[in-house]
Point group: D2
Chain length 389, copies 4
């Protein structure tokens, strides 16, 4: 560590996390006044969720510290406990690494764990993706993190306004766009041949030169116990439409087990269905994957974020993204096989949408690094609302 550099600690916890922060990691690494301290934790370390660590190391990001924090069970109880565990572990790592700034990504339980450890330890906390509105527990958690964070990097204009309306000082809020957009705007989006070797998964092979659908549907924590029924609706619709499909396994949230159970049963019952199940893709390859699909289905925020920039026709199912700002490429439907099927058909018929810059213009990573290097650091927060006393 150079005495003149600000040491920025970033905690990466999952494949989604990594995609949302990758260009920031690069920009920090390349910035003359910043030093990157990288922690890998949670599902980023688990084989079950694909080798995120391997993908990161291939990109040149080696962790300074790793920490296991996922308590098995995938229930609301284990989610709470994993949060507590992550706080305890991260505090020890912060104690020993002494970062100048901690940067936390989005709205997951690992994100708030990072936020709480940093806050209580008087380490200035920066936060990306604050101010957006969604469903699930993520909605509560995202805004709670905003109230703990000292530096805010919202991704849209409306999110920027929301953060300020919640009482954050405007000079700590920076509308920089979403770093996930940066990735997309700087690569060739053709599906490369190596796809077939690199990503194996299970199920019949996908022919990427022919039309295919992509599905990614996570559990909704606030609807815990209903994931099995919900995923069966999506499976029925996808089976009915009969087009080859790339299906990604869900994340580690409470209820993941229910979703997986539905997927596994489907595989046993319909082994010949043209669905190939994957665990994980490199960030750029995921962009390629959805850019070339004819319809993106599920409840991942990537349909709204990356999807809008790429103009991908997308069907958003259920409440997980409810209320999230989005562009015209999205059709919202309920957990209902008929609604899902009809929306898929309609989107496939419509085809590609115009590209939208709602979530940024591709320079978020650099802007964030620049701000982290120069922003005044102050740990005492204060609600900004004024009253006539």
């Amino acid at each position: 560590m150079s005495a003149n550099k600000r040491k920025v600690c970033v905690v990466v916890n999952s494949r989604a996390n990594y995609g949302r922060i990758k260009t920031v990691l690069t920009a920090i690494k390349n910035h003359p006044s910043l030093e990157l301290f990288l922690i890998l934790g949670a599902s980023a370390l688990l084989a079950r969720f694909g080798n995120v660590r391997d993908i990161m190391e291939r990109d040149g990001f080696y962790p300074n510290s790793t920490v296991y924090t996922i308590l098995e069970g995938e229930t609301p109880t284990t989610m709470a406990k994993s949060t507590g565990l992550a706080i305890m572990e991260l505090a020890t790592i912060f104690e020993n690494s002494k970062p100048d700034i901690v940067l936390t990504v989005a709205d997951r339980f690992e994100t708030i764990a990072t936020a709480i450890a940093a806050s209580y330890m008087n380490i200035p906390l920066a936060h990306t993706q604050g101010g957006e509105v969604t469903g699930s527990i993520d909605e509560s958690v995202r805004h709670a993190i905003t109230k703990l964070a000292h530096i805010h990097f919202p991704a849209t204009d409306r999110a920027y306004k929301n953060v300020i309306r919640m009482g954050e000082p405007p000079d700590t809020v920076f509308n920089v766009g979403c770093p996930a957009m940066d990735v997309i705007l700087n690569i060739d989006l053709k599906i490369p041949a190596r796809f077939f070797e690199e990503y194996t998964g299970v199920g019949p092979k996908i022919k990427f030169n022919q039309p295919y659908i992509v599905v990614l549907q996570h559990p909704v924590t606030t609807e815990f116990g209903r994931g099995y029924i919900q995923i069966k609706e999506t499976l029925a619709a996808v089976r009915e439409i009969g087009i080859q499909t790339v299906w990604l396994w869900p994340n580690v949230d409470a209820g993941s087990d229910d979703v997986s159970k539905g997927l596994r049963e489907f595989r046993e019952n319909y082994p010949d269905s043209p669905i190939h199940f994957y665990k994980n893709f490199a960030v750029e390859d995921y962009a390629r994957l959805i850019d070339n699909c004819i319809c993106l289905v599920g409840n991942s925020s990537s349909a709204i974020r990356e999807g809008s920039l790429l103009g991908v026709p997308a069907v958003n199912i259920g409440t997980r993204q409810l209320g999230r700002e989005h562009d015209v490429n999205i059709i919202h439907v309920n957990y209902d096989r008929i609604e899902i099927l009809n929306a898929m058909k309609s989107q496939i018929k419509h085809g590609r949408y115009t590209k939208s810059h709602l979530f940024g213009k591709g320079d978020a990573g650099k802007k964030i690094a620049e701000i982290l290097a120069s922003v005044k650091l102050n740990i005492q927060k204060k609600l900004t609302y004024k009253y006539d006393v």
Copy 2:
């Protein structure tokens, strides 16, 4: 448990916690549609902070569960870790006791631990004292809890407005006043003779029929490392004024060790100083203690809350209460022995202030219980801000 009753879980973590929630506990216990599930944790279990458990049991409140969660060290690191540990432990207890509502008090690390465990476990969370503005990490944490809570019980009109401005649905916010006020308005405030037997502490005996000062100064977590210097200013002022003084030990926050070190050194150096050190008082006795003092000094919120209702002349030192709504009984000063001394003299000269109902009228406990029994429970939150799309 009766099938018809709502089971309300309250986690009491310290003497201050208990004072702020006692009348709510009573009201829940007495309510025909509510069942109380009481958890005792953190410093409420530690002899070092006085026997809060004993005091509660004398009041008829026996814990359904106890849980040790304070990691020793009193540094920012251990505060973070204690938060994580409390989440893990509370999750197991919630898992086994299945409350319908969890009620969390104010803004401490145990409070946010309770909030996070309940939130992720889809248990509706009620919160008292939201919307107030102060210094210390409590400021961040209080508002973060508001963003996690489903039912809000702010104590003042301004706090009520702040909670709504932060984006909480107005029909979930109830301006009920502070339960700590309830206690005061229902008791005889004379200092009873039994004081001398019940509270021993260390140092020369206090003559409660003669003028005395009360001091209570906690560490400020966001100023960690400066507590020793800060407390020496207060000690110098109190020594200079030469009036007999009741001094309460600080709470368990990061920096407590520094404050205690200052107090202990003072005791060694000035064993004959007319200062008596106490660990704890019963809730009602603390009210009696400050109602009869000539000046309340330090940075406890009790000067602002109970103090305003009682009209106690008070000197508030430093940043811990900075920005908190208060009435005319407060003089703010810096960590400076001259400023503190002058403010004390000025307040003693002024004498008693008019009683203020800024923090409530004495019916908060009953109102809260009533609302808990009848309010619609809903776990999916959503920021209320509207935009023209």
Copy 3:
């Protein structure tokens, strides 16, 4: 709780655990001077390992408390951490339930977690299966638990002697046999028709009226990293022999992921192989399963214990059971497909062995309950070795 009854806390953590202690649970429940306090934890709560909880509840055993303690990852690190986590959690449960005796089963990480929590909390600790010799970390852990336990229930004569030679007072060591034997001696061992409905698993259906093999091979923690290669040898041998096979998924030990990976790959590559994969069986059904098989293969202690009583021809692979006392029904082989294949052929040719009572006569459960009800409880241990001073 009756004031006159001894409250015996038993922590059940896995399907294996339950089979080894079931008749003790029944005997405690039925004993007039004992009260059962049942904790369910670790993999007994995880769907991935079969619904042990459901099986237990069908048997009439409802947990007084449940606790999630498995940190995901299945590495040596997560095994250590899961041990630490279990200690912390169990301590809180013991604190709140105040058992008179804690009973811990065998030699797993949950077992030593239970032992340490009870020991430090001055709760007399009883232990089953002490004094046996094996491979894996279980070998170290088993003897460490013996040194913490106050009451010993070894299962064989040699184990009894070993416990005493390690310095335990002979009047605290009781050679009662293994409770797992009790189960077998009291049931009809025919495979019932309901098997087909109750246990689904994945893979081609097993015809239980025709010859079949059973395989159960766990990871060896002290050989972490080699599980994938090891399981491939077994899979190759089983594929070669071509007989229909019941295969049970491995337990949660470090390396489980490697074993599972091997199994999953095999399933993808040889979907038509006559192997059916199961997660779990009820205790009695597992006995039926192996009693009717023509060969039991792998490294489970059940081949040695239940296998000897039933006279099941068994092939024990590798080091996990190395050194464990056994009868003539076992052939030991290395991780080598040829050795495994030859041993299987040899055992199938040999057929059934004479039943052996090496591990008990079927009354262990009752004996253990009787001793728990009457034994003198003393928490201060002392090494018994004598020296001329």
Copy 4:
């Protein structure tokens, strides 16, 4: 780290720990084939127990990692929980530092935490002070650690035999003596003048050129709840004898609070008693302190170990050291003020004993480092007992 060096991780948790391992740390640091990785944890980080960290840093030992693991409460429950917490934390540190050997000291809860984390992580474990016999939970824990350890460094001939009798392979057991003896044999034992500045404590000043007593009495965990009564007996005896006394605060074991309460009450009641209370001494200074005293009183093992080498007349109270091998300098008494007083008088009258080498000859540190550098490392343990099969 050099690729050719063995990385030896030592976890130091308290002042006592440090004294017992200091010369080993030096020898590892100086050994050409070893690299020291030093972890500081538990009470070594707490101001309440004296600044062990400061003392170590003055000696040139800077921690590679620090970790807070003491859960406050000082009850059997918190002791168990602190053990669990330490396992979790140490596992993360081991994961990130990858030591070749872990060395753990003696018999405390931090010691077994270290042992369990290393064992499950397949890291060869070395252990000092195995095979000794005492009271308290330490007795159980010490032998449990022996059963987990791969390399044993007992301090006496009898301890050496005990370790082997417990079933450890003789070629892994090395009778090297106690490293604490090394310290003593290499220093000038005169009390230096700087004592008065360096160690402040509380109470009347000690005149080190006049006769003084040293008292150090820890809680006995297996007698939890009786510490307050027990310490009052010792205090009464010391008060009666009326000689100036250096009194050290007890360690962090369960019951410490009771002992401290007794000491604090005594201080309030008899402020003029010629007793000076200290928290901590540098290792060498503690040796000087007891070498120059006329009687060492309490239940610390230092009376038996260092005391025998120095020939210090000592009174051992109660069960904590019961059964521990010792020399003639010890008189055992019960928790009884008369017995204690009489034994003190008798020892003071007797004066200095002949020096004994029961616990080593001063070369333990170097021997241990040499063995750590050259011993064959093997993680699979196996009970050595032989039987005719």
